[in-house]
């Protein structure tokens, strides 16, 4: 991230630099859209909340990760072909609930890159995620954890954010059947399957995957709701008017300096929905 990390400053400091707050507001009002990594850089720590009854969480996380990876501009001095791998960390519980990645079902250019880590405990999974984020030979890291384990508290989450930012390896953490707990993730999504567009030849068959995605907390973007889908190897997003958040726990109102801006946003659900509808 090249831009100053404004929201981690105390509020007094924010008031002191009024013009930066204005800039921040402009930035925050920008809506998320696919391919944004090309302009603003990658979002390093992402969380995707999903139910363990469907493959939407991993599918959407992979789609978002690939979108960032493909649209990030490559420097002129970089090696022409990106041969880096992908680390996919699962706790044993998450693997039991939602299965392990299946090579033949992965996108073509991902199949040979996946390195899978099966961790017995959430602590081990966090360790594996952090080691993966430190590794310069990985394009991104996908994690899958089920529930709200005690080990994944705000400190652990902040730790992952910092490591990810420092080494420039994005993390996409899928939270299966989890409540929206405290986290320092830069983008937090709630994802559920959406009816897929009808295929061209057999309209009775399931089509390319589509997801209802709700961006309920993002640094630098307005929250919103979209229907994400696969448009010929690219992520496409249509705005959605879906209101109900499927089965998630509503967040506790959190007070504190770090989260002042966030909690303010989440205490005004009507405003958020209005904004979501407008775009």
């Amino acid at each position: 991230m090249t831009q100053p990390d404004l929201s981690s400053l105390p509020e007094e400091a924010l008031h002191a630099i009024g013009e930066d707050v204005a800039a921040l507001c402009v930035r925050r009002s920008a809506r998320w859209r696919p391919g944004l990594a090309a302009e603003e850089g990658k979002a390093f720590h992402n969380e995707v909340f999903a139910s363990s009854r469907e493959g939407a969480g991993a599918g959407a996380a992979l789609a978002l990760a690939l979108d960032d990876w493909r649209t990030t501009p490559r420097g002129e001095t970089d090696e022409a072909e990106d041969r880096r791998g992908i680390l996919w960390v699962q706790t044993r519980e998450a693997a039991r609930l939602s299965g392990r990645p299946y090579r033949a079902g992965l996108p073509e250019d991902v199949r040979h890159r996946v390195i899978h880590v099966l961790a017995d405990k959430p602590e081990d999974a966090l360790f594996a995620l952090e080691e993966g984020l430190r590794c310069r030979d990985l394009a991104f890291v996908i994690g899958e954890m089920s529930g709200n384990p005690k080990a994944l508290d705000f400190t652990a989450s902040r730790r992952l954010t910092l490591v990810s930012q420092k080494h420039g390896v994005p993390l996409f953490l899928v939270r299966l059947d989890a409540g929206r707990d405290l986290s320092s993730a830069r983008m937090r999504w709630e994802v559920a399957s959406a009816p897929s567009p009808a295929p061209r030849w057999n309209t009775q068959a399931p089509g390319d995957p589509a997801w209802h995605a709700e961006l309920f907390r993002a640094r630098g973007h307005r929250p919103g709701t979209w229907v994400l889908g696969d448009g010929g190897g690219m992520l496409v997003a249509h705005s959605s008017t879906r209101q109900d958040a499927s089965n998630s726990v509503r967040p506790e109102p959190v007070e504190g300096l770090l989260f002042s801006s966030v909690s303010r946003m989440e205490r005004r659900p009507t405003l958020r929905q209005a904004q979501g509808e407008r775009g």
Binding site: G55, A56, A80, H116, D120, F127, A128, D137, S193
Partner: protein, 528 residues
Amino acid sequence: MSSPAPSVSGRRILSLWLPALAMDRWRLAMGEAGSALDAGPLVLIADTAHGPRIEALNRIALEAGARRGTMLADARTLCPAIATAPADPAADLAFLEKLALWGRRWGPWSAMDAPDGLLIDVTAVPHLYGGEQSLLADVARAFARRKLAVRAAIAPTAGAAWALSHYGPPDAIVGGTGSSAEDDIARALSDLPVAALRLDQDVLTVLRRLGLKRLGELGTIGRDAIQRRFRNRKSPAANPLIRMDQLLGRVPEPLLPVVQQDMPLVQRRLMEPIRHRPLLDQVLGDLAADMARELEGRGEGARRLEIGLWRVDGEVIVRRLELAAATREAAHICRLFAAKLDDVDAGFGIEMVRLRASWAEPLALEQGDIEAAAEAHGTSLAACIDRLTVRLGEKAVSRPVPFASHIPERAQRWQRPLDPEPASQGDLPFHKRPLKLLDTAEKIAVLYATPDGYPKRFRWRGQVHEVARVEGPERIAPEWWRERGSARLRDYYRIEDDTGRRYWIYRLGIVGDGRGGMPDWYLQGLCA
């Protein structure tokens, strides 16, 4: 005949032939214990399907009538007193390899000429020994000291040197450089038998029947005639013309050196050709850092570095740098190269940059701050996997690889992450597979029209799903060569329920297949 001969230009090859390598090695290995046997007729034998065959023999056995390649039984009829010892061709080869390394005392580069010869490049070396005669004398002395019989010859090409060492006069030297070299070789070798061309036995037979016995005679009947007869022979050992050209130096003959030293080499293929100096400096910096890391891994430092710049229009610019002391300091290397790159003309752009340390010397490792390095650059993949396996166990870290099977859960295997991927047939693109596969397929209760209708509704993990869209069935038969006869087929369906959740389910068996009662349904995969 007047074609230019670039490969002859001034090269000098020393060919050594050890005619009794196996016997000499046996004597050296046995020491005193073998001298009693060696006093009489002695042969080294190898066991073949038709009985023991003679592989090597000493002088007394030769005089008694034994020959190399004959059966021991035949030789015994001529000389019943013959003693035997087993031959050991593998040890002979290992010995020859050691000799090839030792032979580098006469030149910087040597190759094995199995089974019993050596080729050494002595270009620009003989003056150190006081001329080529003295060099050959030194060779003879050194081999005599090691009690090895040797025949040596020096010629401008490997073929000529080989021919002279095997069939020429002892310690032959064919001189001459430049344009006259070819004629010199042709003249010096014209009396040698055609066997000096290193040809296969059947080709030699053909040549003998044609009446061509000497190398000089090959030139008398015209190149076209020989060309016509051997036009189908592509291998050099089967075509006398190719061998002749190699011998005269008209075509190059690649030789494999004994010790190949791989040099540290790093490169960048660039996505966009670069045309400006700041970018080139940046790439150079990256390469220097890579090189430093590479050298550090070997415990070496660079003494000479070459940077190659491949331009889009096919030009290659090379700059060399020699360092006073071995170094692997990236910043230092960059600074030194910066001055050398001032006059580089980038033309339409540089698309590849390669840095090579053509001379590296051992340089002791210094204890840097290990953690600090990992903090700054991140860890490598290997280091990352090492750390993960140490904490989580060997089995926890793995990579999915394809396996030749139709059964979905067998079609994927897990192997260690850095092992090479096994070859596979590739997947058919119309076989849509789910993103994730459950460890064990879970049984579901399905409402469907028997015997093989589409599923309408199913219950999985205590929740009912209404099926909205279906594709299938994709029938996967059991692998009869592996499974029992009672294994049932599977009909796979890709389904989507009314809220858009996509699954991969199958029906195990079909009503009336005689392999059990009503078929069960299973949910095996979750689609994205």
